[in-house]
Amino acid sequence: MAIRELKVCLLGDTGVGKSSIVCRFVQDHFDHNISPTIGASFMTKTVPCGNELHKFLIWDTAGQERFHSLAPMYYRGSAAAVIVYDITKQDSFHTLKKWVKELKEHGPENIVMAIAGNKCDLSDIREVSLKDAKDYAESIGAIVVETSAKNAINVEELFQGISRQIPPLDPHEKGNNGVICIHGGKPPAQTRRCC
């Protein structure tokens, strides 16, 4: 099977669970007392997708405002961005919108955007309704999914969704969008997925 590398970066307010999502996805593990990310951290995971293997090269960025200006470094070459908010914090949804705006303005043209409403295990103290998120996602053409890194809900699905959104690649052309096709091969059939 051919391996394709996909650079993905995670954006979002501090404390929404970006690192936890990555940790769940990559190591299938959840840490209750994860400390705030400084700068950014990097992990990879390879998952099969159609007749290809997708190797996610994931940059998990720091959510703290003071590191905000570091983010462009990571999303600039990315094939996809996962923008995370906390369903129990309206503010984090506002921050998400700011990120989307920034991506539209400064991000790569065809970047795949995926919105993750994390902490859906805490839906009894929810502040952001799923409908709001879905409407917003639709308006910007993004994938949206509610996740729980703690309970491993929809985390894999989130990345599968991204896989399917990755535009087809001419095997002879090296992707400049953070997609590098190492071993050539046909891209998977594109299917639009929404949850």
Partner: protein
């Protein structure tokens, strides 16, 4: 004039001691004769791997005919330029044959459709090592066989073989030509060996793994006879001639040193020295290692293999050809074993005048010694009467590139430029790494005096490396002086040794090459990595107020370096992949060095300025300044010093080391110098009193010394090291003495409060504790070395309680495999009902099959707060903890 003739004349006068030296020298000459640069072959091309299968290339000119055109340089390959060498073919097409991620089954599937001799390199999940999967012809019984690739410090080799290579490509290229421990030589797929241009190869490479199933992987019109080495071509036996080819010489014949080719193009790496090949195989046969079939034909019959044609020994070897003779027998006066004194000798060279140790030709140590002497000698001012003659030809060799006609004149460049040869030496020797462990070369590295670097800039300082070691600490200046008066070599030896190091100077270690490549990449903004690094550097330069404290700033830098390292190691941005050029256990070390070069080097000045600003702002700078004055005026006893203290001269020396430290950007090198300072202090303490001192006495003396040095900048230096040093180095001496230095500085800072007490304030101790915790917890992805290969697993069975077993679980063993192992060990009849769980923080998590328990364990260990956790093997459904577990199970199972 050959140096050897000179040698024999001198011999008459000087007796057996110099006889030995001459033997070394002439052996070196012979050795060099065999050392040819692979780059020559890269540039000029080699014949295709299997000439017999390559009809269109059979007009391959016969080497002797070529010689005429090649002229006195004896290379004979210039006319072949334009042809693609095997190495070229391999380098271009690695996406096809280098398939580290491939499983055994997949590899088997691919190879079964291939003719015998076709191969893949993959990584065995079981052994966690690279293996060469080779398609066998039908008469061998099995369709394929795997040969483990051994990786040691700087080399790659096939298990059981004595020949080591600087990288995987050279290894494969060699085995395309000589079978050595293989049943037959490797074969490149027809399309690859038939490609005429690099573009064609690139096209094939684009196919990657799909190459094997594509139409590109066509078979030759008339398939060649499978695995037989090609027939002899009349001049010399085919395989042997090809072995010569990969060596870059067309035929090995005895030559006098003056005939040798001294071209010094950059970066030759692969040396196949038939002499060593032979000698070593004898070693092997006698040693505990797997005997090579060649030396023990009896064993050879156990393994099916095609009838020999092994490379016949070259003429120079005829001496040793008799199998009955061991290497020692055939070389009188060449002791075969190197005792512990080998290291000692290397070490003492840097310290005091010693008689030249007896030569140990087959050991790296002897070359290293020779090298080191050569270097020291050249570093000395001329004036021995021999120098003028030796001075000639410096220009040629110093530049590194141009071939010198007369190699007896080749000599290393003096003093400041004398370092490349050392590295070359290490490189060259480790390339062969025939019979000794790498410790010798390490030892050598350590014993290298540092004085050559003084007054030098970062660019050359960066290349220094080594470990803390007693010898390293020896004051080099002193030793140089004393040696000057008593360590005299006859000129012929010097010239021989120089000649040798001149050759060495042209080689660069794969490590350095990789560091350089990464550094180049980091400057290229067209690459993702280059962008990342450049953006980060400008981010730091432009966003001064982004960091709240000095620690915070250094932490983000450290974090960035660690992450980018991970990125480079795991993405495909480095091409060819780093695993094919650097042995796996060295990858992190190499990447770390590269990070220093491309991130810390450009940031050094800024970081130091920022650190100073932070300290000025928080007042600690002023406090330290005032207290330094105060402490300086106290006598040692007032500081709690009850041991001899370094005198002014020693303090001056220490100060020089601290100043050198300031010039370096690499935290590792800074720590190295700190260790030297500490060692010097210990030496002074002990030499002046004749007794040993412990840490309790050391700290006050260090405090006293730091005060005497009166360098405010040390505070910044220590902080820089403490935060930026690779976490894995914090556990050793480096971490210990960093803590000491930090302690000493805080004693000075808090001098008044503590009334000269020798105790650290509780605040200081707290800070240190936090630092240690933070830095050791900072490792986001623990490296393989961090965790042990054992996992304690509890077995829980309703009714029978809990039993525990410690299992051998390597880092990359999956939960699935651990479960299997548990089923065996705990004698579980129905393993499908059991699974491995992690019990942590009072919750149960069933571990997914593809997770790595050791990584999870390492992650748990590296948390700031210690966690109690257990790995438990138990039934999936019936759980004593009832509800808790049921919930967890539902949540955690993949939905």
């Amino acid at each position: 004039m050959s140096a050897r003739t000179m040698g024999s004349r001198a011999l008459d006068k000087r007796g057996s001691f110099f006889k030995l030296i001459d033997t070394i020298a002439s052996e070196i000459g012979e050795l060099k004769q065999e050392m040819v640069h692979t780059d020559v072959s890269l540039e000029n091309g080699l014949g295709p791997p299997e000439t017999h299968s390559m009809v269109r290339h059979q007009e391959d000119p016969c080497p002797e005919a070529e010689e005429a055109k090649g002229g006195p340089r004896d290379s004979g390959y210039d006319s072949l330029s334009g042809r693609l060498s095997i190495l070229d073919r391999l380098l271009h097409t690695h996406p096809v044959w280098l398939q580290l991620g491939l499983s055994e089954e997949e590899a088997a599937k691919i190879l079964q459709a291939q003719p015998p001799g076709i191969f893949l390199v993959r990584k065995s999940a079981k052994m966690q090592r690279k293996v060469l999967s080779l398609r066998l012809p039908s008469e061998f019984g099995a369709p394929l066989r795997e040969f483990t690739i051994k990786e040691s410090v700087y080399t790659f080799s096939l298990e059981g073989s004595g020949i080591s290579f600087a990288d995987l490509f050279r290894l494969i290229a060699f085995y395309c030509i000589s079978r050595d421990v293989l049943p037959f030589t490797l074969k490149l797929p027809y399309a690859i060996s038939a490609a005429k241009t690099e573009a064609q190869l690139e096209e094939l490479a684009q196919l990657g793994l799909n190459f094997w199933s594509s139409s590109a992987d066509s078979k030759p019109p008339n398939p060649p006879p499978p695995h037989r080495p090609p027939p002899t071509d009349g001049l010399c036996p085919g395989p042997w001639r090809q072995l010569c080819l990969i060596n870059g010489v067309h035929a090995i014949k005895p030559r006098t040193p003056s005939e040798l080719e001294c071209s010094q193009t950059n970066g030759a790496l692969c040396f196949i020295n038939p002499l060593f090949l032979q000698v070593h195989s004898q070693d092997l046969g006698a040693g505990p290692k797997r005997p090579s079939a060649r030396t023990l034909p009896v064993n050879g019959s156990e393994r099916p293999r095609s009838p020999p044609p092994r490379p016949p020994p070259p003429a120079v070897q005829s001496l040793h050809a008799s199998p009955g003779l061991s290497g020692t027998d055939t070389r009188p006066g060449m002791p075969q074993t190197v005792g512990p004194d080998a290291q000692e000798n290397v070490a003492t060279l840097g310290r005091k005048p010693t008689p030249i140790p007896p030569p140990r030709l087959k050991k790296q140590a002897s070359f290293l010694e020779a090298e080191s002497s050569a270097k020291t000698l050249t570093a000395r001012p001329p004036g021995r009467g021999l120098e003028p003659e030796l001075e000639q030809g410096t220009a040629g060799s110093a530049g590194g590139a141009p071939p010198t006609g007369d190699c007896t004149r080749a000599q290393p460049p003096p003093a400041s430029a004398a370092r490349p040869p050392c590295h070359g030496g290490r490189q060259r020797l480790s390339d062969m790494s025939i019979s000794t462990s790498s410790s010798d070369s390490l030892e050598f590295e350590r014993s290298m005096p540092l004085d050559g670097y003084e007054g030098d800039t970062n660019s050359s300082l960066e290349d220094y490396e080594g470990e803390s070691d007693q010898e390293t600490m020896a004051p080099p200046i002193k030793s140089k002086k004393s040696r000057h008066s008593s360590f005299v070599l006859p000129k012929l030896v010097k010239s021989q040794l120089r000649k040798m190091s001149g050759v060495f100077s042209s080689f660069m270690t794969p490590e350095k090459r990789m560091v350089r490549r990464i550094a180049e990449l980091s400057r290229d903004k067209c690459t993702y990595f280059g962008c990342l690094v450049q953006d980060y550097v400008s981010f730091l330069l432009e966003n001064r107020e982004c960091h709240v404290s000095s620690t915070d700033m250094l932490q983000t830098i450290r974090q960035f370096m660690t992450q980018v390292k991970n990125y480079l190691a795991q993405s495909s941005e480095l091409d060819p992949p780093i695993e094919s050029l650097i042995p796996e256990d060295q990858i992190d070390v190499v990447l770390e060095k590269a990070m220093h070069k491309c991130i810390l080097k450009p940031l050094k000045g800024h970081v130091e300025a920022m650190l100073r600003d932070f300290h000025v702002a928080d007042g600690s700078w002023k406090q330290l300044k005032e207290n330094l004055q105060l402490v300086r005026q106290r006598n040692p006893q007032e500081l709690g010093v009850f041991a001899p203290t370094p005198d002014l001269v020693d303090v001056e020396k220490i100060k020089i080391k601290f100043m050198m430290m300031q010039k370096m950007y690499s935290p590792e090198k800074k720590v190295m110098l700190l260790l030297r300072v500490c060692k010097l202090i210990y030496t002074v303490m002990e030499n002046n009193s004749g007794r040993m001192y412990g840490a309790d006495d050391f700290l006050p003396v260090l405090t006293y010394v730091i005060a005497q040095c009166d360098m405010l900048e040390l505070d910044v230096e220590i902080e820089y090291m403490m935060e930026l040093l690779d976490p894995s180095l914090l556990h050793g001496e480096g971490g210990y003495y960093l803590t000491s230095a930090y302690g000493a500085l805080s004693l000075i800072k808090n001098f008044q409060e503590e009334q000269a007490a020798r105790l650290l304030s509780s605040e200081t101790r707290d800070t240190l504790r936090q630092w240690h915790k933070r830095r050791t917890a900072n490792r986001s992805i623990p490296s393989v070395d961090d965790f042990q290969n054992y996992l304690r697993v509890a077995f829980q069975e309703v009714g029978s309680g809990c039993t525990g077993k410690t299992l051998l679980v390597r880092p990359y063993v999956t939960t699935e495999d651990v479960c299997q192992l548990c089923a065996e060990k705990f004698k579980v009849g129905n393993p499908e009902e059991y699974s491995l769980f992690l019990f942590v923080d009072e919750t149960w998590q069933q571990l997914a099959e593809d997770t790595y328990p050791q990584k999870i364990k390492a992650e748990l260990h590296s948390r700031p707060q210690p966690h109690v956790f257990h790995f438990v093997y138990k039934r999936i459904k019936s759980d004593p903890y009832g509800v808790t577990f049921q919930n967890a199970d539902k949540d955690l199972s993949p939905s």
